[in-house]
């Protein structure tokens, strides 16, 4: 370690410890107190609008001078309308139901010995995101609503914007009973690496960024990570598919928002329907400027480029689609379970039996029948907010709402009960009656 690395490491350690201490107080606040704090944040952001816009203008000027790509510039740019929209989003989080304090189990173990399983905050979240300043407002508010402290690290190009936003948020918190230390901002890449090591203070890392960045985070921390490295989604058009639905679903899944993780990457088509379906879907896709790549059988039907093995494991995030002809439902399921990323996969069929087999046997967070993969989304599921989408097997899996930011604890209240009474020769039985 260099001297500056040691300094950075000990500073982050201090920041994380402060966040944890502040979060412990936040964790026990009432829903009302948290909602009032969220309103105070919205008011403080409104009051700081000139400073926030000025900071963002400086970020944008520097980014433009450095020549960042247009889509990144669009995400970085925060004008008054976008800021007002984000502040409205802050107030919306106040209206979501509180994920903390839900009683999941309430059980009489024995007379006067009562077990409860109650949701509670995780503690401290570490959220690493790209240069999009609106994320600061959304994430901070979701953290406070769920009773968690949060350590934020935004993309380097947005550093002035993030600083102005976090300053306003913390200013808003000083008007409430909440210690402003629950919201922290890191500004350097070195600090990010330190953050990933702090498993004694940080309970969950949420990386938002490129696939390779998420994979880097997953491989470099012992802290649980909420996120997915890849979204390789499939649509399988069964032999019993309604062709019109299949075309509409394929075009929507591929072209509605190609950069989204729930967009279609590989189309699987049953052999029996391929010669009828493929020319129709190809025409619709090509009208939307989608580049097609097919396996051998597909290329016998369509005049398109040949797909290679690499295509089956590629998330294009662009107007490109690979196509494969399969000989059975089982073939399709095997392809998906082999090459997919366990994100979202759909079958188009009028056979309820084929649909049931697909939904049961495809191993993915989302398994859909006769609808677009694009529905895989926390807002569309009615979660009110989406914290991230997880492709891990263990819960939380799929789109994760506020409930992904809480855990639970078991509480037992007794009256001097001891375990020895329930074992040995004269053992009392347990009642185990749900209340």
């Amino acid at each position: 370690m260099t001297a500056s690395q040691i300094a950075s490491s000990s500073i982050i350690d201090d920041i994380a410890r402060l966040t944890r201490e502040a979060a412990r107080q936040l964790a026990v606040l009432s829903t009302d107190a948290k909602n009032q704090a969220i309103v105070a944040i919205a008011i403080a952001l409104e009051a700081a609008t000139p400073e926030i816009l000025a900071a963002n203008a400086a970020d944008c000027k520097a980014a433009a001078a450095a020549g960042i790509p247009k889509p990144l510039y669009a995400r970085l740019k925060l004008d008054e309308t976008k800021l007002q929209g984000a502040i409205a989003g802050v107030r919306d989080v106040g209206r979501l139901s509180d994920p903390v304090g839900a009683v999941q189990i309430h059980r009489e173990l024995d007379t006067g010995l009562i077990l409860k399983r109650i949701t509670c905050p995780l503690g401290v979240l570490g959220v690493i995101f790209e240069a999009r300043p609106d994320a600061v407002m959304q994430i901070s508010t979701l953290a406070i609503k769920s009773g968690n402290g949060v350590i934020l690290k935004g993309g380097q190009e947005a550093v002035r914007s993030c600083e102005a936003l976090v300053k306003a948020i913390r200013q808003g918190l000083t008007q409430t009973g909440i210690n402003p230390d629950v919201v922290q901002l890191l500004t350097t890449r070195e600090e990010t690496l330190e953050l990933l090591k702090l498993d004694q203070y940080v309970d969950l890392i949420i990386p938002r960024g490129s696939n390779s960045f998420v994979r880097f985070v997953q491989n470099n921390t012992r802290i649980p990570v909420l996120g997915h490295a890849e979204g390789i989604c499939h649509v399988y058009v069964d032999e019993a598919a309604d062709i019109e639905k299949a075309v509409a679903i394929t075009v929507d899944a591929k072209t509605h928002y190609p950069a989204a993780c729930n967009a279609l990457e590989t189309l699987l088509v049953h052999n029996a329907i391929a010669s009828e379906f493929l020319p129709k879907v190809a025409k619709s896709l090509q009208e939307k400027n989608v580049e097609l790549r097919g396996d051998e059988k597909t290329c016998q039907i369509l005049d398109i480029a040949a797909a290679t093995e690499a295509d089956w494991v590629t998330e294009y995030s662009d107007l490109i689609l690979s196509i494969k002809v399969v000989h059975s439902l089982e073939d399709a399921i095997n392809h998906i379970n082999t090459y997919g990323s366990k994100h979202t996969d759909a079958i188009v069929t009028e056979s309820s039996e084929a649909a049931a087999t697909f939904l049961a046997q495809v191993d993915a967070a989302g398994v859909f029948h006769n609808c677009s993969t694009r529905f895989s989304d926390g807002f569309r599921y009615g979660f009110g907010a989406e914290v991230g989408i997880s492709t891990q097997k263990m819960p939380p899996r799929g789109p994760v709402g506020l409930e992904g930011l809480v855990t639970y604890k078991y509480q037992i209240v007794g009256d001097g009960h001891i375990a020895a009474s329930y074992s040995g020769a004269d053992a009392k039985p347990f009642i185990h009656r749900d209340l």
Copy 2:
């Protein structure tokens, strides 16, 4: 890698792949089919009793010759009564409710567009346990009940017993529709290391063994681990405690089963009650041969050895107790949140306010009021079975029953629905009505 390591690695890879494939078929079986398989296993184990007892006798003879400690020998030894008890336990698992197929969310997103969140098996479990052959029967049955394949690795001393048991279990499965490859046995330490690397095939590792072994597993795999390295549990005797209850709870938590992870390791006592309580509890504990170690203040009241900083972070798993006098409820909570292992901590008090603060602010899987820490247990909670106890923050946390062996997937059934209909100028609204 040496040639033999390469060979071992590729064999384990094949075993894990076979297990995953067999588990995919198991995952979609009905509750009845799984329960029939569990009965078939029980019958096969009964039929193989002579072979199993002979194999165990050979293990015991070798272990005795090698001079293994008495408690380990007792766990290794499988006589006819113990085997019959374990087979009865197998049949009991058949009677537990099926954790697979539970509908957790059922929601109309729009007319004809229905979302369900349904529990499903994880896939393949890797379970590494000590030389206790009864674990083979319990774990295999819990895996099948939850629809998972399982790769077992038992302690080296039990290798003959484990082989005989797994042979009988697989023999039982051949009488059913379940591929016997869902239950696999590894027999060497090298294979364990290989198993920890197979994150593409194995979905959850459950290590059962010493703290240092669990920590080793946690530090050497990317696969999620269900387990806890340490159980440093506390009892805090508040100034408003009922002394009689406090003595009974302390003695029970420390002496009922000192080797258990939910046993008491550190007693915290409020200053205001210390001079009255400590002599009474010390007398009761010393009658049970508990060695006491105290902080400075405790040693002013009791004639016992001095505790050092190391005592606060030690799980004795033995008849030893460290004692500290604290000056407030807050002091007690801080001590627990600093030195505890987030397993189970209890307060003894007649003040409901102090109890509420303790239950809210202590960060542990189990937070108890006026009862022994020993109640932290899946069977005592009424889970029917306990797969393990987790001290991680993310769920599953605390004692984990069969529900810890399943995950969930989101299913959507539509009728040609596409996402484009719900965005843009003429966007349809979502209904989001729970069914």
